[in-house]
């Protein structure tokens, strides 16, 4: 197992380097250089007539951002800044990027964590029910429903929710956005505060999770069906074990192995989904931050967020890989046998 984990970590480092390289390349996609862009953004209408000043500002910025050096040195210097978490300042409001991210990361991380918990919490019982009752009318209905959910574009569901459930024209059951009320105060009881958050986050979390739990449920169903066909399950029934024990103790445990690895596939989906969901529901998280940065071509923020999301995805996948090795000892044996 340890060899396998070491191998995974061995792959982690070059991938990380590749991602930084990619991120650096992305920042060179723009026409002109970032310094020109910054001056262009910072001096709205000030370009004309003060060309001399702008030239000098450009020179200064280029020096400050090492744009006068060869490309590989720029990359290495940027990498050094990255390691020391020096992401620079945002073009939009000149605040340190790190500060902006630190404000927003907890919200998105908390939403991600909840989403994963909810998705697995709903999907596993649903998948088990569907598989143990396969062929019944309810199973067929569930299969169809989960399939439909899986194919529903999240931005459409979010827009439908905003249009019909957060709109005084129809039903104003939920607030249109944000994570808490404007008049939310620390003096409220804990219960009140939790309720306020829940009221604001119910729809976004629903939109955020349904695709994942539909996907996991489908996989859970087929994984369990696969296991239920095997001989040792028949043996377990034959020796007189109660059905509940056979299902939960013998079958479900083994069918969970492929489900654990799905975590690796869900994390990137969640991170990209956060851009859509947070933008539609105006939730001040990383997704909304990156959307604004992309619209404003705010390079320091974009590069930082891109690198960070990629690293988060990578860490998640690494975690899923390690979990996989933990739950299924055959993996390391198979490697050794080769």
């Amino acid at each position: 197992m340890w060899g396998y984990i070491a191998q995974r970590i061995g792959l982690f480092v070059p991938t990380l380097l590749f991602i930084t390289l990619l991120s650096f390349a992305l920042s060179r996609l723009a026409p002109g250089d970032p310094a020109a862009l910054k001056v262009g953004v910072g001096a709205e209408g000030g370009i004309t007539g003060r060309a001399g000043l702008n030239e000098r500002t450009l020179e200064l910025l280029r020096k400050q951002w090492h744009l006068d050096k060869p490309l590989w040195q720029q990359y290495l210097l940027w990498l050094r800044d990255l390691v020391t978490l020096e992401f620079g300042r945002s073009f939009q409001d000149n605040r340190p990027v790190l500060e902006k991210i630190a404000e927003r990361l907890p919200i998105t991380l908390a939403m991600n964590l909840f989403a994963v918990l909810i998705a697995y919490g709903i999907a596993i019982p649903l998948g088990v029910y569907s598989a143990t009752h396969s062929g019944t009318a309810l199973d067929r209905f569930l299969t169809f429903l989960l399939f439909a959910l899986y194919s529903l574009p999240s931005f459409w569901v979010a827009m439908l929710a905003v249009t019909f459930l957060c709109n005084p024209e129809y039903l104003a059951l939920f607030p249109t956005g944000g994570i808490r009320s404007i008049f939310h105060s620390e003096q409220w009881s804990l219960w009140q505060r939790v309720l306020d958050y829940a009221w604001h986050l119910a729809l976004p979390m629903l939109v955020y999770t349904y695709a994942s739990f539909a996907f996991i449920s489908r996989q859970m169903r087929s994984a369990l069906l696969e296991v239920l066909r095997q001989d040792y399950i028949r043996t377990a029934y034959a020796k007189g074990l109660p059905g509940r024990v056979v299902i939960w103790k013998h079958a479900v445990r083994n069918s969970l192995i492929p489900i654990v690895t799905l975590l690796a596939g869900i994390l990137p989906t969640l991170i990209s989904g956060s851009v859509i969901v947070e933008t539609i529901f105006s939730i001040p998280g990383m997704g909304e931050l990156s959307f604004r940065a992309l619209v404003a071509r705010d390079y320091p923020v974009i590069m930082a967020v891109f690198t960070l999301s990629a690293v988060l995805t990578l860490v998640g996948i690494l975690l899923a890989d390690i979990l996989y090795a933990v739950v299924d000892p055959r993996i390391s044996f198979a490697r050794r046998a080769q």
């Binding site: 070059p14 992305l26 723009a30 194919s151 574009p153 827009m159 999301s309 990629a310 995805t313």
Partner: protein
């Protein structure tokens, strides 16, 4: 085809006995009603995409005007190809001409046609004039949906075409050669797999100066080939060990010929499943991108960009419901086709 004559003569009898693999899969596929309905839906979309100009256009299909027969829609194609010119009809407003007789498309608007007479929200709602309503500058939703099929279909096919080309070539190389080639390609697959795809695409598309639909297609294709490469690699590994490949090697065929003529055709079936799901994903990514306002220029009307218009006027439910439903139906159809194909290919289900 330098097959010995004796072998060739035995072939027809063999064919009569057994069913070809493709035919067997098709027979299985046909038994799946949802899969067939989805296939029908995609074919319908294809038809709509081909005939979009005849279904929604601000010019009549056929018209009799000042004693002449005119075919303005066809004429437009000819002008587009440089075969004809508009002549004195270059600047006319086709909707206002006093025709003696005219056959109009069922939807007499183009997606870009604005109808400035619509002032209030109520006038923009679905009505007899605009069956599915219009957006805030009076562009007909139904016309946009009909013409949008072109983008939805081409996005899927072009992006998947790119992904297929990369995935099949790399997967086949890795599977057939094994060793160092396999290790390098497998690592590359894992690397691309760990990238936050959507985020990468959205960043590239937003940062490049001139965003275009082609860039979106290329980016989806360039990031979406991994599952195909994995499938092909696995299948080629399986097929490579079979006796007929050894036989081909013994006959002295070149490696390229063995891979492309003998190994790949037998390894392609599962790839179709991955391709169907890949197309669904491509449609989803593109519509999400144009919904967020990246990718296509603002003048281009796609299903996603129509849905985005609803963010500006929240009371226009028709801007949410109809384009979104089209995206959903298209994505669901491709997913159902993928499901049905997988079931048809799964030998365990075959009785």
């Amino acid at each position: 085809m330098s097959m010995p004559k004796a072998v060739q003569e035995t072939l027809p009898q063999l064919e009569e006995k057994g069913e070809s693999y493709g035919r067997m899969v098709w027979r299985q596929f046909r038994r799946n009603p949802l899969g067939m309905a989805s296939l029908g839906f995609v074919l319908l979309l294809l038809l709509v995409a081909l005939l979009a100009d005849f279904l929604a256009n601000d010019k009549p299909i056929v018209a009799r005007y000042q004693g002449r027969w005119l075919f303005p829609v066809l004429h437009e194609y000819a002008v587009g190809l440089g075969l004809a010119s508009w002549g004195e009809l270059g600047r006319v407003d086709w909707r206002q001409l006093p025709y003696e007789w005219a056959l109009w498309p069922p939807v007499p608007y183009r997606p870009e046609t604005t109808d400035p007479n619509l002032q209030s929200l109520r006038e923009r709602a679905p009505s007899k004039r605009h069956w599915l309503g219009t957006d805030e500058i009076g562009r007909d939703v139904l016309a946009g949906i009909l013409h949008g099929t072109r983008y939805a279909l081409s996005i899927g096919f072009v992006a998947m075409g790119i992904a297929l080309a990369i995935g099949i070539v790399l997967g086949a190389l890795a599977g057939y050669y094994g060793g160092m080639v396999d290790i390098v390609i497998s690592r590359l697959i894992e690397l691309v797999l760990t990238l936050p795809t959507f985020f990468l695409i959205i960043t590239v598309v937003a940062l490049v100066q001139e965003g275009s639909i082609w860039l979106v297609m290329a980016m989806i294709g360039l990031t979406g080939w991994t599952s195909i490469a994995r499938f092909v690699r696995g299948e080629v590994l399986r097929v490579r060990a079979m006796e007929y490949v050894t036989a081909a090697q013994a006959l002295g065929y070149s490696t390229r010929r063995i891979v492309f003529r003998h190994v790949l055709p037998n390894a392609l079936a599962p790839v179709l499943v991955a391709a169907a799901f890949g197309i669904a994903n491509a449609v989803l990514i593109e519509s999400a991108l144009s919904f967020l306002g990246f990718g296509v220029p603002p003048t281009v009307v796609t299903w996603g960009s129509m849905l985005a218009k609803a963010r500006g006027s929240i009371a226009s439910w028709w801007l949410v419901v109809f384009p979104g439903a089209m995206i959903f139906l298209t994505v669901a159809a491709y997913n159902l086709i993928g499901d049905a194909l997988r079931d048809a290919l799964d030998p365990r289900l075959r009785v």
